[in-house]
């Protein structure tokens, strides 16, 4: 099989922050009854992670597997690209007999890392998203489904000075260009510190 191509194909940019295409990343949309014990069991079994609270994301220590709360009946599982098929089968097996939907959306998305001084990273995102990015309000572990300028996106802080942004594959270039414009070194706001 050919090597998978991510939409941004390894693009990077340097400015107030560094932007980097994270390459093909495994993602599974999982819809179901989040309150059902079977759901927590499935997450534990497949991802080794607990159910995240609303607007939160949980991650394994090495960051390879993450589970994000996306809506009252939807989660996003993030994992290595090549492990998706097995994880999908495991989810379906663990939730067999319960009403749920698990779909591979790895290729439908793009994942961009925004890295730099913590304040600059927050500032770049705050130019594009109607989100309170103050550290007191948006610490590590929070995730927002929101918009970046004119398109849907979600982001969370993986560690101090780094955020991950996901958007739809077709607009990956647009989002990358938006973030690059916002990260213009001459356009620092100096609001978050």
């Amino acid at each position: 099989m050919s090597e998978p191509f991510s939409a941004l194909n390894g693009a990077s940019f340097q400015g107030l922050v560094t932007l980097r295409d994270c390459g093909p990343t495994g993602m599974i949309t999982l819809r179901g009854d989040l309150a059902a014990p079977a759901m927590a069991q499935a997450l534990d079994k497949v991802m080794g992670l607990p159910l995240p609270a609303p607007r939160r994301i949980v991650a394994q220590a090495d960051g390879t597997r993450q589970v994000a709360w996306m809506s009252p009946d939807e989660l996003l599982l993030i994992l290595p690209y090549e492990q998706v098929a097995d994880a999908l089968a495991a989810v379906d097996a663990a939730l067999a007999g319960t009403h749920h939907l698990a779909e591979n959306v790895s290729d439908a998305r793009a994942l961009i890392a925004v890295t730099g001084p913590d304040a600059a990273m927050r500032e770049v995102l705050a130019k594009l998203a109607p989100v309170d990015l103050h550290p007191d309000h948006f610490p590590q572990g929070e995730i927002r489904r929101t918009r970046l300028a004119q398109v849907a996106a979600a982001f969370w802080i993986t560690q101090a000075g780094q955020a991950h942004v996901i958007c739809f594959r077709s607009v990956a270039h647009y989002v990358f260009d938006l973030l690059s414009a916002a990260a213009d070194p001459a356009a620092a706001v100096e609001y978050f510190g």
Binding site: S2, R31, D107, A108, Y174, D177
Partner: protein
């Protein structure tokens, strides 16, 4: 003469001279000047012309309220009209041009209007341009267009960049004067997240000009101390050159930050629009001085008394050696005292109050200034510049008692709190008769999401004009804002300032009070739009008693300054004319923005490559390098055709169609919507969404389906594949993917919330390619990995497997009438898979084809296209699609709509094929002509063309259209009108032009 004083000017850096150009003339100023102060320092008092009468106009104010001194700023791609010189910071190389005159500022032909002013009264346009009707197009409209507008619109694309910034705070303080700083200090010390925005480049506001002491220290020292404390607080952000532009629902505020207007050579964005979500908003926006309405109050050299003081103190500029002062309050005495202290002459202070002023008046007298109580200006003498004033008794009708030569007049009609931001989102005002002002009514503040007050007015903006009162008021405002956002305030008293005892203001709305018509007709209310006291009186007389009507009839307050100076005087005049009081007349509506903000700031980053999102399929770059002529489809770009060197689009489309029908063509169909619908109730759900049955579709099979709106109109179509017992995959049109996904979610969330169905939009997960033509099967067999034979994978079935080593779903469906497979592979493998297809297909002459070839081939087969055959008014029955409507189902979305009388009307236009007799291609959208004309004298019609193409396969034009009783009129010839007035004849035929029996697709 206005000139630069030898000393003074606290904003100036006299060590750094700056060169700029005004109307081509090189002038010099200092760093720290505004364009206004620099022009005045160069004795350039005449700065523009008024809108209607082209009267000479000089600067009248010193801040954002300036109505007169507007210029065109910059050149070419950085040109911007209607810029206020008072808020334009001077920089080296600045270029400004005055506006609204011809041929020059000094000699303007349009000034003849001033002599015609008695023929150009209020409502002139409404009265004049009614008759004769025929004059409108050729005489009136060109004349109005020629004289409309002040500045010229820029011709070039803006060279600058802009951006937005989102900030959420506990307390937003708008205004960085003493009140704003004090409120911020209290809230900041309490621990609230505070943002302070100030529209000018300096903290402290007017207090620095007016002086005073706070807690025993000079006010400027106090300001510096507070600013440096605020700067050390990590929870407080201070922004200069950032105006609070508008207050909206739920504490949403727009801030307009001007980053590089004062330094255009710096890198980075020019303006930044702040989108602020504040839990509490403190409006410490200060107050604006009102002009007095006396004859000739618009002559250049007549200025607001506070502005005269600002120019002297802030920029070391004298507006004249001899300044006469006219006032109805004590504050203007400060101007006299300031000027006197600078060694300038104040011939007389005319105080309209019979009783005169308080302590400041005594101080002025002690300085030897002549003070005349109960006196007024009868008229100002001079044309382009003040030469003197005629004095009269305020109580009288304007009989001249004395004439005094002077170079300038400083006037003060009292101060109006800036209540704009308080009022934007519904804050109400009360009329404070003692202070003769509208001020915020604290009991009727704008309310936020929780129903509580979200705006607190502070300081002069709240009617607390004096330093001590303003500080005390702002202290309370800061406490209230902190408390309301859950922050306990630290103990502490408001700073103390000694206020001078002042005599009360006397409301003076006309000077003298009994002014004759001749005087009233020269007493300006709105300087920019040339509205005078007489105009407002005429409006009242003609029945425009509502302030909103009078405003629009007279254009009072409709200029670019939005009536910052004129509104209160105007409505007081209206109240007097109507013999009522001011509060019962009320104010006009205050709307954002506070002063005009740039279009660029509103657009933000959205320009150039990121003007709009451009959606790309995994093959986007391949298309681009292979000659794609792009067609926008929603936000996607799809190849319309692939151009070869020297080829026209028409030829390319014909080549693509012929190749596909003869051998093999490939289409990037990735944009097609793909929605997974899963759950125990999914079949039942799809039976409701589609007009036909989907629940009975066997696993592994495909079925074409139609979707309608509740009203029965066709909204989407596509092929549905049953994936498993409880899962279906619904293909939608390209434009329908997001819309139909939302449609499904809406029904699931609002109507059938108890049905167990989940929907996921997986459109972008897959790259999907149509492999089309007699050799389609052969190329797939060459790729290897799946049995795609007729027996294993018959028409309208699908299979999953691996093709060329890549996981693939193969759908045996056809939109072209040929043997055709649509293959979905993971998007990340889309391009390699496509390249394999091209390589393996080379022996069959494989070619990519674009959307136009797709359209032509589907039209040759008589397949409908959503958006061509449908337009939101078409039901499936109109299109001969009755076969796709289940008769067995009790219900589906649109069923009842389709049973309404108009929908079952046998005279609805129906779909047919159309063949021109001469073989030409019908114009798209052309109407079929019927006999006679309708009530409007228009030709009657009996149908219209919905799709029309040149068919390369048939070598002639083919079309589909909706025609009255069409299917019953096969063979009949009807006429279609063309835009050139001629018509073209076409025969009604079956809409399937090619391979009627479907033999080619079913092999």
């Amino acid at each position: 003469m206005s000139t630069r004083l030898a000393t003074g000017g606290r904003f100036l850096n006299r060590g750094r001279q700056v060169t700029f150009r005004f109307n081509g003339k090189y002038l010099k100023g200092f760093e720290g000047d505004t364009l206004a102060s620099a022009l005045l320092a160069n004795d350039q008092m005449l700065m523009g012309r008024s809108f209607k009468y082209h009267r000479p106009r000089g600067v009248v104010a010193s801040g954002a309220e300036e109505p007169n001194a507007l210029v065109g700023l910059g050149k070419g791609a950085r040109f911007e009209p209607n810029q206020r010189v008072t808020t334009t910071e001077l920089f080296d190389g600045l270029q400004a041009e005055s506006q609204n005159h011809w041929p020059s500022l000094d000699y303007d032909i349009g000034a003849v209007n001033t002599y015609l002013s008695r023929f150009l009264p209020a409502g002139f346009y409404y009265k004049m341009f009614l008759y004769p009707r025929a004059f409108w197009k050729h005489v009136y409209e060109p004349f109005i267009r020629m004289s409309a507008g002040l500045g010229k619109a820029p011709k070039d694309a803006d060279a600058d960049r802009y951006e937005h910034f989102n900030a959420a705070v506990d307390v937003l303080v708008i205004g960085g004067g003493v009140a704003g700083l004090q409120a911020a200090l209290v809230a900041g010390r309490a621990g609230a997240r505070v943002l302070v925005v100030e529209q000018t480049a300096h903290w402290g506001g007017r207090a620095l000009v007016d002086g005073g002491t706070v807690d025993g220290q000079p006010v400027d020292t106090w300001i510096a101390t507070v600013v440096s404390e605020l700067e050390t607080m990590s929870n407080v952000t201070l922004r200069l050159r950032c105006m609070g532009a508008g207050v909206y629902d739920h504490g949403y505020v727009l801030g307009y930050e001007r980053l590089r207007d004062h330094a255009p050579d710096m890198d980075g964005p020019r303006h930044r629009l702040w989108k602020i979500r504040a839990r509490q908003i403190v409006t410490a926006t200060g107050a604006i001085e009102r002009p007095l309405s006396f004859a000739g109050n618009d002559v250049p050299g007549v200025m607001l008394a506070g502005a005269v003081r600002d120019y002297a103190v802030n920029w070391g500029v004298s507006i004249g050696d001899r300044v006469v002062i006219a006032t109805n309050n004590d504050d203007a005495y400060r101007t006299a005292i300031t000027l006197k202290a600078m060694g300038l002459h104040v011939p007389v202070i005319l105080d309209a109050r019979a009783g005169g002023g308080g302590a400041l008046a005594d101080q002025a007298r002690a300085l030897g200034i002549r003070v005349e109580n109960g006196k007024a200006i009868a008229k100002v003498k001079g044309g382009k510049r003040v030469t003197g004033v005629a004095i009269c008794a305020q109580a009288g009708e304007g009989a001249v008692l004395e004439e005094i030569a002077c170079d300038a007049v400083a006037m003060s009609g009292g101060w109006s709190p800036v209540v704009h931001l308080w009022s934007h989102c519904g804050g109400k005002l009360i009329w404070d008769a003692d202070q003769a002002m509208f001020r915020p009514d604290p009991d009727r503040a704008p309310t936020g999401a929780d129903g509580g007050a979200m705006v607190i007015a502070a300081g002069a903006a709240n009617g607390a004009l004096d330093l001590g009162a303003a500080l005390a008021d702002a202290h309370q405002a800061g406490k209230a804002a902190a408390t309301a956002t859950g922050h306990a305030t630290k103990p502490g008293q408001a700073p103390k300032a000694e206020d001078v005892a002042q005599a009360p203001i006397a409301p003076v709305w006309m000077m003298p009070q009994g002014a004759s018509y001749a005087l009233r007709a020269k007493s300006w209310l709105d300087f920019q739009n040339d509205v005078k006291v007489s105009d407002v009186q005429l409006a009242a007389q003609e029945g425009f008693t509502s302030v909103e009507h009078a405003k629009r009839y007279t254009t009072l307050g409709m200029a670019t300054d939005q009536g910052k100076l004129s509104n209160i005087n105007g409505l007081a005049t209206l109240a007097k004319s109507l013999n009522t009081d001011i509060p019962s007349v009320g104010t006009t509506t205050f709307r954002p923005p506070y002063t005009p903000i740039s279009m660029g700031a509103i657009a933000g980053e959205a320009r150039g490559d990121i003007f709009q999102p451009l959606r790309r399929t995994p093959l986007h770059d391949w298309h681009a390098t292979n000659g794609a002529f792009w067609e926008p489809v929603g936000h996607w770009r799809r190849p319309y055709c692939y151009l070869r060197p020297g080829e026209s689009q028409h030829d390319a489309v014909a080549r693509e169609v012929k190749q596909t029908r003869a051998s093999l063509g490939l289409l990037d169909a990735s944009t097609l919507g793909k929605l997974v619908v899963k759950g125990p109730d999914a079949g039942r759900f799809l039976d409701m969404l589609y007009t036909n049955m989907m629940s009975t579709l066997p696993v592994g099979k495909c079925r074409y389906g139609l979707m309608c709106s509740e009203n029965g109109f066709l909204i989407d179509d596509g092929v549905v594949a049953r994936m498993s017992e409880d899962t279906w995959l619904c293909h939608t049109t390209t434009g329908g993917a997001d819309r139909i996904h939302a449609h499904m979610e809406e029904w699931l969330q609002t109507e059938w919330w108890d049905w167990q169905v989940y929907v996921a939009n997986v459109t972008e997960q897959y790259a999907q390619f149509a492999v089309v033509g007699p050799n389609a099967r052969k190329v797939l067999e060459k790729l290897g990995g799946m049995d795609v034979s007729k027996d294993t994978l018959p028409f309208m079935q699908w299979a999953e497997g691996t093709l060329a080593g890549i996981p693939a779903r193969v759908f045996r469906i056809s939109f072209s009438g040929e043997l055709s497979y649509e293959i979905a592979v993971p998007a990340s493998h889309g391009r390699p898979f496509w390249e394999r297809l091209m390589a393996e297909g080379a022996e069959f002459g494989a070619m990519p084809y674009g959307t136009e070839a797709l359209h032509v081939m589907r039209a040759e087969k008589g397949f409908i296209m959503i958006g061509d055959e449908t337009d939101g008014t078409v039901i499936p029955q109109d299109l001969g699609l009755g076969w796709a409507i289940s008769k067995k189902k009790a219900d589906y979305i649109g069923k009842r709509g389709q049973e309404r009388s108009h929908m079952v009307d046998p005279n609805r236009w129906q779909l047919v094929g159309l063949e021109t007799l001469d073989g030409s291609t019908l114009p798209d959208g052309a109407y079929a002509l019927a006999d006679g004309t309708n009530a409007n004298g228009q030709r009657k019609t009996q149908g219209r063309v919905t799709s029309t193409y040149y068919s390369p396969t048939l070598g002639r034009g083919i079309a589909m259209g909706l025609v009255l009783n069409g299917p019953a009129r096969m063979g009949e010839v009807i006429s279609f009108g063309k835009t050139d007035g001629t018509d073209v004849k076409a025969r009604i035929v079956d809409q399937v032009f090619y391979d009627k029996d479907g033999e080619k697709q079913n092999v």
